[in-house]
């Protein structure tokens, strides 16, 4: 089932950042992800599509160490990733969550600063005695966090509690927090779910700017227009398996993809309803 | 060999006591993910309820063995259960239910508060009932003719009657539990709720009622254990729930918390381990003064090497 694409389209020929080979995840009798292989090269935006329940988020969880795959391996820059989210982050891979998981009672700035945790060194001794390193790092991280908020367009919201942010801003804040971990590859789980068209355009533009920073992006999305505008390459997952992988227009026109979507209960460019959670409703009220 | 068998029997009967209490921890945890610290006190209240029943029956001491076994013992068990189930349901209703959506820390702290409150309540006010003894120190538990004094003998192995009672009670309760979980509507609703409360609710299961059933079930078994404890040790006191509760929780973790069969197995294993530790650990550390330490050491070892317990715990998927 594993496919590699070498049809010389606009695909970046950079190094392979993420290499998942034959990843399989079973929960009891249920095979959520079956024998999926997927490469992401540096500087590339890859889309991951598929009907609900196709195993996209489960695959994300396998890639980021939240789950330990039943079989198969995930390599990052050629090295096998440790099955611990924290260590995955250190290697240079960060993610957002489908059902926004910000630290709700922290301010936007603090959220981003938590993202910097793995790139800072202040220890308990430094902090208790307020040694120079603590001071230096705090000032530097505050500065950097402000820059990141600026980058995603939230500079005015630095001292707003993240739970008080409108829904779209929360999604952007989650991206800023992920960027704070200084990733080489960013994994976005439905970054435009619940957004209005204008916000979606802004998100699209933001992802391009992230790519321009030199990061690769792997994005799960249901919004087909968004995906095919954005991605260099698209991988379609159906029932835990890779149905097809290739350049946007190839995937877009593949009859099997259309069938997979029509065959499922979901329509294609309606954003799927994420798990019922408050931010979703709040976001809609704000929109 | 006889010595080993003797210790095995001692351990099993002790373990049966733990198992009866452990079920209460496990069913409640399985459904609401709450460590009900006050469950040890529910066990204590079961014992005091049984004692109260005995007082109300006029402190019978000269009943025949048949009468005792057929009337007195069931009456005491029922009295204990009424007390423990009532208190357990009240704590659920007034202390835990309002906190069902609160952060995890809140119900845990409440449980500690309930535990301290119940202990102190019994200590301070049990003696206020006219004719009842003061509960500030241990109260001698009545002996039930037919269940105390005598013992069964198999070769060199001696089994005290209270131990027989405990083992028999566990056996009966296990059969009952199996039937309840697999064959009754409430039991199956309980299993469904513990696996997925939201879906269970959507399927029309009254989750409040299931939770109450879990508390009541645990409390009823704890009351049986309370009577068994009284018969075994000959006295009861307001503090007895603390250590017994801790041990029972250890048993529940040992078997895999949330797993009813696990609680029974865990209790028996813990009891045997304790009995063996006091018999076979050489030197000063094998004295009975250390047995509780070994039991808790076992708890920590289980958490290190097999946190899901012997029979597997309910894994909470939080992703």
């Amino acid at each position: 089932m594993s496919q590699t694409i070498t049809d010389g389209h606009s695909v970046d020929t950079g190094t392979v950042l993420l290499g998942a080979s034959a990843v399989t995840m079973r929960f009891g009798g249920l095979t959520a992800v079956n024998n999926v292989s997927l490469n992401v090269h540096s500087g590339e935006i890859v889309g991951l599509i598929g009907p609900n329940g196709a195993g996209k988020t489960t695959l994300f969880n396998c890639l980021t160490g939240l789950y330990r795959p039943t079989s198969g391996e995930v390599r990052f820059l050629g090295e096998v990733l440790p099955p611990k989210p924290r260590l995955v982050v250190r290697r240079g891979m960060a993610r957002t969550f489908q059902n926004i998981r910000l630290f709700h009672n922290m301010t936007a700035l603090e959220n981003v600063m938590v993202g910097m945790y793995s790139r800072t060194q202040t220890n308990a001794i430094d902090a208790v005695f307020r040694l120079p390193r603590h001071r230096r790092e705090e000032l530097a991280s505050t500065e950097r966090a402000k820059e990141l908020l600026d980058f995603v367009g939230l500079s005015k919201a630095a001292d707003t509690l993240s739970r008080n942010l409108p829904y779209g801003d929360q999604r952007r804040l989650e991206i800023a927090r992920a960027l704070a971990t200084e990733p080489k590859l960013l994994l976005l789980d439905e970054p435009t779910a619940g957004m209005n068209p204008q916000e979606t355009r802004q998100a699209e533009e933001l992802i391009f700017r992230i790519r321009d920073l030199g990061l690769a992006v792997l994005v799960i999305e249901h919004d087909m227009r968004f995906i095919f505008n954005l991605c260099d390459r698209v991988c379609c997952l159906v029932r835990g398996e890779v149905l097809i992988e290739g350049p946007g227009e190839v995937v877009q026109n593949d009859p099997r993809v259309i069938e997979a979507y029509i065959g499922s209960s979901e329509t294609d460019d309606e954003p799927a309803v994420p798990a019922a959670d408050e931010p979703e409703q709040k976001g809609e009220a704000d929109a | 060999m006889e010595y080993f068998l003797q210790q095995l029997i001692n351990g099993l009967s002790l373990g049966a006591l733990y198992a009866l209490i452990a079920v209460g921890y496990t069913v409640v945890y399985g459904i609401v993910q709450l460590i009900n610290f006050a469950h040890g006190e529910i066990f204590m209240i079961g014992a005091f309820g049984a004692y109260a029943t005995w007082m109300i029956l006029g402190q019978p001491t000269d009943w025949s063995t048949t009468m005792s076994l057929l009337v007195l013992l069931p009456a005491m068990l029922i009295g204990g259960m009424v007390a423990s189930v009532t208190v357990a349901l009240m704590t659920e209703r007034f202390a835990y239910r309002p906190l069902r959506n609160a952060p995890r820390l809140a119900p845990l702290i409440t449980a500690i508060g309930v535990s301290v409150f119940l202990q102190e309540f019994v200590r301070l006010f049990y003696g206020w009932v006219p004719g009842f003894p003061d509960a500030k120190s241990a109260i001698p538990f009545p002996s039930v003719p037919g269940l105390s004094g005598e013992s069964l003998q198999f070769g060199e192995v001696l089994i005290q009657m209270p131990a027989v009672f405990t083992l028999a009670a566990l056996a009966v309760c296990s059969v009952f539990l199996w039937y309840f979980v697999n064959r009754t509507k409430t039991g199956r609703a309980m299993v469904a709720t513990s696996q997925d409360p939201d879906t269970a609710r959507l399927m029309g299961i009254n989750v409040d009622r299931v939770i109450m059933a879990a508390f009541a079930l645990g409390a009823a078994l704890a009351a049986i254990a309370g009577v068994a404890h009284g018969l075994r040790y000959g006295n009861i006191d307001f503090r007895m729930g603390f250590l017994a509760g801790l041990k029972a929780f250890t048993a529940a973790v040992l078997g895999g918390i949330g797993n009813i069969a696990g609680a029974v197995v865990g209790g028996l294993v813990l009891g045997v381990a304790e009995a063996m530790a006091t018999s076979f650990i050489p030197g000063q550390f094998g004295s009975s003064a250390w047995k509780d330490v070994w039991a808790f050491a076992l708890l920590i070892l289980v958490l290190v090497f097999r946190p899901e317990g012997l029979l597997g715990a309910k894994v909470v998927d939080r992703a």
């Binding site: 989210p85 308990a124 | 409440t110 409150f117 309540f121 000063q284 509780d292 808790f296 946190p307």
Partner: protein
């Protein structure tokens, strides 16, 4: 109460309500010039006409406040400007009336109980009661004020500093005064009026302003707090009884603060915390050179303190390392078990069931007093002409320990590590997925908290003179937890207040000491149900406990913004 009287009625009747309320308050003030009791043996003798006793004077404070709260809006109608909105005139008047009634009730009950029946209550008491009832009834007709937002009020720094120093001075003399009441009825009356005044000021919005002032002038706050605490022994004029209570309060508060790092900052429930205190105490006792010590080595005290802390934190690692990997719930029960293991082990290390280290249940007694560079903690010293006894010496030492714990608490809280802890509390999985080493951070808090407990234990051993296993049992851990819960998880001020209340009340109200555990158990249940964030709420904790309250979230955000707490990583931005 809002259900009883419709809002439109309230608006219509607010002027007459204020006038009637003023009558009530005036009656209460007038009553202090009358005799309250037939006899002369209750309270501080309130049986004279025309000459108020000190307690009666304090009693008048609440009604006087009431007069101000009612008269100012009445006379200043239309001229209050923004002051009409900045503070909650009506709600605080209502609070004032209710507390006046409560204090009146306490006094009348004291007279009735102390002299045997209500017949002993003189006209003064009845006039006061009538006044209080009138005040309560009339203030119910006042429309509710909007929440006070006095924190928006800008004020010059010198005013803020003056206010902080003033509060501290009041605190010092209030505490000194309160401690001097020997009788439960006087203590209760005075205590209830103090609490009443505090509640009124709080409703009024003073505290929200003060907390901003405190946040802006942290150095002043911290310095003046310590000056006041340091000066306290001088107000006691050598009274050993009070200093003994005060130093016990400090030891208890220090331990509770350490526990608060674990419970309040990280959200881990540590039910064996007292065992870490005990481990420190036993370590210090064994190394103290007491005749009963089992190790014949007496290191200098600073080294003993370090060893005690290290022993405690190693035990913490031993317990925490396996448990913290699993789940927070297990930690609670494992620490509970650990507390029990500790007690049993200390009992067993008696040379009989194990090697002799602790003399078993007898423990180690005759621990010598500390001696720093010739300053003998066991002896009384005369400073500025005032006797400073043994307890005062330890009081000061504990003050230093508390200072250390507060510094650790605050500096960790406002750092990368503190942010990690909050993240763990909020969403452990997301924290881990953002690169936070959740296990290490939890272990750090757990072992660090144990270290601080060990340090406090080392001092406690010398203070207590003897160390026995039964001083360190589960109920003491529950008691500590109650102090944290009552005071406010995650705050320093709250826990200091909680610890003081829990330790002081049983000391002063002897009749209630047998019921204290019952009430504290109940207190924990009630607090978790109705005010889980405690008396002094940590903003973030309050939000966590009231997750669905969006209005509160906005309000708190504005207050935090006003304090600039979160944008400045500098240590001066502590928010006690």
């Amino acid at each position: 109460m809002n259900v009883i009287i419709p809002d439109d009625v309230k608006v219509r009747f607010r002027v007459p309500a204020r006038i009637i309320g003023l009558v009530g308050c005036t009656l209460m003030i007038a009553s202090i010039f009358m005799s309250w009791s037939y006899g002369h043996t209750v309270l501080d003798d309130v049986g004279y006409w025309g000459a108020p006793s000190p307690l009666q004077l304090y009693y008048a404070v609440l009604p006087v406040l009431g007069v101000l709260l009612l008269a100012v809006p009445l006379l200043g109608r239309g001229r209050l400007g923004r002051w009409a909105k900045l503070v909650a005139w009506n709600t605080s008047a209502k609070t004032c009336a209710i507390w006046s009634l409560a204090v009146t009730a306490v006094m009348i009950a004291s007279i009735a109980i102390g002299l045997g029946g209500l017949v002993n209550v003189d006209p003064g008491g009845w006039v006061a009661l009538a006044g209080a009832l009138i005040a309560v009834a009339s203030t119910l007709f006042l429309p509710d004020s909007p929440d006070p937002n006095l924190y928006r009020l800008k004020s010059p720094q010198w005013v803020q500093i003056l206010a902080i120093v003033g509060v501290m001075a009041v605190l010092l003399f209030g505490a000194a005064y309160l401690l001097n009441f020997e009788n439960a009825d006087q203590f209760l009356t005075f205590g209830a009026s103090v609490v009443g005044v505090v509640m009124v000021l709080r409703q009024f919005g003073i505290f929200s302003w003060l907390s901003i002032a405190a946040a802006n002038n942290n150095r002043v706050l911290v310095t003046s707090a310590f000056v006041v605490a340091f000066a306290f022994p001088f107000t006691q004029n050598g009274s050993d009884a009070n200093m003994s209570i005060a130093s016990q309060v400090l030891i208890f508060a220090a331990t509770a603060l350490g526990l608060n790092i674990v419970v309040g900052l990280v959200g881990l429930l540590d039910l064996g915390y007292i065992a870490f205190l005990g481990a420190g105490a036993f370590t210090a006792a064994i190394l103290s050179g007491s005749a009963f010590a089992t190790i014949d080595w007496v290191p200098p005290f600073w080294l003993t303190v370090l060893i005690a802390g290290t022993v405690s934190s190693l035990l913490g690692l031993l317990i925490g390392a396996p448990t913290l990997r699993v789940s927070g719930d297990y930690l609670a029960i494992v620490t509970l078990a650990f507390g029990e293991i500790f007690r049993i082990t200390m009992n067993n290390l008696d040379g009989n069931d194990g090697p002799n280290l602790t003399n078993g249940s007898n423990g180690i007694s005759a621990i010598p007093d500390l001696n720093f560079f010739g300053f003998d903690f066991g002896k009384a010293h005369v400073i500025f002409g005032i006797d400073i006894g043994r307890f005062a010496n330890y009081y000061w030492l504990m003050l230093v320990v508390i200072a250390i714990i507060i510094v650790v608490f605050m500096n960790l809280n406002y750092s990368r590590i503190g942010r990690g802890w909050v993240a763990i509390r909020e969403d452990e999985l997301a924290a881990e997925a953002m690169g936070v080493n959740t296990f290490a951070l939890k272990l750090l808090a757990f072992a660090g908290g144990a270290f601080l407990a060990g340090v406090a234990g080392a001092v406690k051993a010398h203070y207590d003179v003897s160390v026995t296993p039964d001083q360190y049992v589960f109920l003491e851990s529950a008691f500590l937890l109650a102090a944290v819960v009552l005071g406010g998880m995650g705050t320093v001020m709250g826990v200091l207040i909680g610890a003081t209340i829990l330790k002081l009340l049983p000391e002063k109200l002897r009749f209630f000491s047998d019921y204290r555990l019952l009430l504290f158990g109940l207190l924990m249940v009630i607090m978790m149900r109705f005010r889980p964030e405690g008396i002094i709420a940590d903003e973030r904790r309050q939000l966590e406990f009231h997750d669905e309250d969006d209005a509160l979230a906005v309000e708190i955000q504005e207050e935090m913004r006003a304090k600039h707490v979160h944008l400045n990583p500098e240590p001066k931005e502590w928010d006690l």
